[in-house]
Symmetry: C3
Subunit: 164 residues, 3 copies
């Protein structure tokens, strides 16, 4: 089995992708959720698909949004209804592996661990997994045309209210 | 809501800040605590303020040191009194977001997760949160003029003996 | 105590080492274990030595392999016997500190946290610690001539079946 070939990525693209990854987790962890849809292209795909399903090609998951408007709707409902017990996330992400470019989009993957903290202070290891992304560069900035969140575990002890 | 503007940071500054972040966690995790105060400027601020307090502007926290001598005193007491049950930390940090420059100092934030391991081998998810920093470059090296540790949780099951 | 001196590392070497660190964790986490031995030189050392033992210079640990063939044998037995309860890892690693160069090899250390997820979905904080590496550059690619995994805890609730 050959090693993955090192992909030739322009430094500006690499920097823009690194920045996108960082902005994504900082927006969510700071609960600045209105910034979250802006990190996607207008036509986009956001899904959460547990690892076992993803490996079997069962691409139906917990969340499914296929345009930025749906992401914005999600945020609006969170803000308006606000029925969930208040909690915050903390993501720590590893380095992003850029796998190649196809039809103007860069394929990439990034590992993550998310700790969830409830208002009462209780911390839980909430999710660990991998982001599988397609990323385009628009006007010098990177945006997700596709982000599939692939948690290693298929179990969540509660609803996933805030995007991972 | 506009996206955060990408800040223009000289590569040498970016490298020095990345190195500072790394040296900080490696010094603490290796229990080479005498190296820890040296990562701050002579006049400095080190605080641990739980997230809820930080967001409400209640800037009183668990630790408060406003010069390097106080940091050194902290380390000395740890070394001399040594009453605490031996334990070590392991930090994993995410990428640092550099937010801007003001009065010669760079503002930055970095997410962290800390795992604590007791001498007996028991591991705990000890803290998850964010470093909110002001960093100056002195003679080519970066130093904290201010580091506020903002844990997502306000609860610690024991005293915070070792700096986070 | 002086601060660690910043080591002058050619950017291409730094990039190759960062890529090696990333490929290592992605190969293991994706269970593409056949890729794992290929990240080592033919003559190499792979060990897992708990922190307390490592600090005391007791260099006998849980795993010991001193050439790539032994690593390949390990992978073969995992694949053939397959008696262990299926599980996967998720590593998140921090930045790599490159400490110096000696006899053609770069010394480096990197912190890690590993979350283990069982087939049934149960997640555990499995290990936290540090990689202590010697890395050589061969034909533009970085390879481990030595990787010592130093978990902060000496306790594992089960056998370590998959390399950390």
């Amino acid at each position: 089995m050959p090693l993955t070939k090192s992909v030739d990525v322009p430094p500006a693209v690499r920097d823009a992708i690194a920045r996108l990854q960082m902005e994504y987790v900082h927006a969510i962890d700071a609960l600045e959720l209105e910034r979250w849809p802006q990190l996607f292209t207008e036509k986009c795909l956001y899904q959460i698909i547990p690892r076992a399903d993803h490996e079997q090609g069962r691409l139906i998951g917990i969340w499914f949004c296929d345009n930025r408007g749906m992401l914005e709707d999600r945020v609006s409902s969170m803000r308006e209804v606000n029925v969930f017990e208040p909690h915050v996330y903390r993501h720590v992400i590893g380095p992003t592996e850029i796998l190649g470019q196809k039809d103007g989009a860069w394929s990439a993957q990034t590992s993550y661990i998310v700790v969830r903290t409830m208002l009462e202070g209780e911390m839980t290891l909430f999710s660990a997994g991998r982001y599988v992304d397609e990323i385009v560069i628009e006007g010098g900035a990177a945006r997700f045309s596709k982000r599939v969140v692939v948690p290693d575990s298929w179990r969540f002890d509660t609803l996933v209210v805030i995007p991972i």
